[in-house]
Symmetry: C2
Subunit: 294 residues, 2 copies
Amino acid sequence: MLSKLEMFIAVAKEGHFGRAAQSLGITQPSLSTGIKQLEDQLGVQLIFRGSRFGGLTPEGQRALTWARKITADSRQLRDEMRATKHGLSGQLRLAAIPTALTWAATLSTAFTQAHPNVQMTILSRPSMQILTMLDDLEADAGLTYLDNEPLGRVSTVPLYEERYMVVAAPGNALSGRARLHWSDLAEQPLCLLSPDMQNRRIIDRNLNAVGVLPRVGVESNSTVVLIAHVESGGWITVLPEGIARFLTEGKPLELIPLEGGEVGHRVGLIAPHRDPNTPVLAALLAEAGRMSAL
Amino acid sequence: MLSKLEMFIAVAKEGHFGRAAQSLGITQPSLSTGIKQLEDQLGVQLIFRGSRFGGLTPEGQRALTWARKITADSRQLRDEMRATKHGLSGQLRLAAIPTALTWAATLSTAFTQAHPNVQMTILSRPSMQILTMLDDLEADAGLTYLDNEPLGRVSTVPLYEERYMVVAAPGNALSGRARLHWSDLAEQPLCLLSPDMQNRRIIDRNLNAVGVLPRVGVESNSTVVLIAHVESGGWITVLPEGIARFLTEGKPLELIPLEGGEVGHRVGLIAPHRDPNTPVLAALLAEAGRMSAL
DNA sequence: ACGGTCGATATGATATTCCTATCGTGAGAT
DNA sequence: ATCTCACGATAGGAATATCATATCGACCGT
């Protein structure tokens, strides 16, 4: 595939099958066959031709962009493998679901106070991506749901259990109440986290369980966006208590506990289940254990 | 080469030659040979092994990152070539830098009020990623800096100019002042957006221009995390005015204008510079034009 | 009409990839 | 210490893919 992409790039550059072949050190029929196979493989015509080269098709233009990107990446892989090795660094990368960012901040604050020479990076990510990042060594630890969807082989430290609240502006149909049920959300204009978020899937499940079809007009990977919409009027959202309280503090918005449905989902720290943990990671796990609400 | 990269990815994922081979539908000796050939080709050892898989070498880690990128690019090339042309859909995906999320929410609110049948998805992303997402057809429009780093070929609608504020808790060394300069941030414990954010690069540049080495103890891709750290005491952060005001509203935190350095960076809507825009996108561009502060 | 250029097709040779069978090593159980 | 099992590597033959050479078909210019 890679060599066929190189052929395609050469033809696009030379505008002539024979010269392209020559530039690659192969014969023209080999190149002709290769381009044809690439077209078959991708299922589109890449080049306009009668008896001679007639330019790239629109699909060919797009494919050329990709071909260049892919071959450049391959070249860089090769080049970099010749480079020198990387040493360890004093960094800790924590990937957290957006609804647990306040907890991430709390944990980070305590941890960096105890270990001032460690630099924290905190990344907001959907839960599935957090697991991938741990596997890929792109994150050192995660903050996510422990009991809703499978985690695979990780070490865990439970931190808290989630409770949900409706966030509404005063004057909304649901505001002023002491508590709400999931069925009360029927027909309400909702702004929610996007479906790649586990929190959203929990909410969808709870609504589905009471026969409510969620009327979602806005979705986002950012809780800031949700609160901003609620504040603009005409929207309500559902968020776990911690982040809801944090984002609405001092704002003219109402938090109403949402009862029923699935409750008490555990959120906690996860880390790769590996040999001995690094001292930095061991310290983070210990810190999380100390601040657990469970 | 591409199939060998797939083999390598599978081994890295499974941590076991036999299972990796099975997942690819080939035999273990084939996979063993393939990995060895990849190592020969790249000139480095990628995997530690005795009689069994012993983890990835540091070079292997880096190669894995590239392998994933290359194979994902290839997949996307294939997927895109298969895609039928995109007709109109009732969706609009807007990717916005975290510091512009309140503007995204404002634009979205106005837009969905005018077009109630369009579903908005708003994604918080670094600016470079926004450009990539536009190219990859993963987002329909972006909200990002217009004048700081090259955008490539996009249509733009300027929305506002950024001004920066320091966010500090009362009692902090910098609190109580009417205004601050970038040099005042020397030696201050900072929590900032991570370096993949353009806002961070602007801040770093401003600090560098006055000879200040930023003392960053915490970084994140989420502004919520930054404010939470400031509120916990001991940290200060720098944010553009809009998001700073939104997140601190009602909280016992101070906003102090930051003067000097680069000012007035333009932020606005960007869309692919393509044929005729879709009616949905045209409507969004028009809505942005109407709410522009410039 | 003829000659030259271009890209495609056919065929046989060569290279690569894959599978099966087997080997060598290390870890764990007895 | 010995045996067994699991794991990854090696060897050899078969299957498949790729390549070069020779040639064909189409188009253009003279």
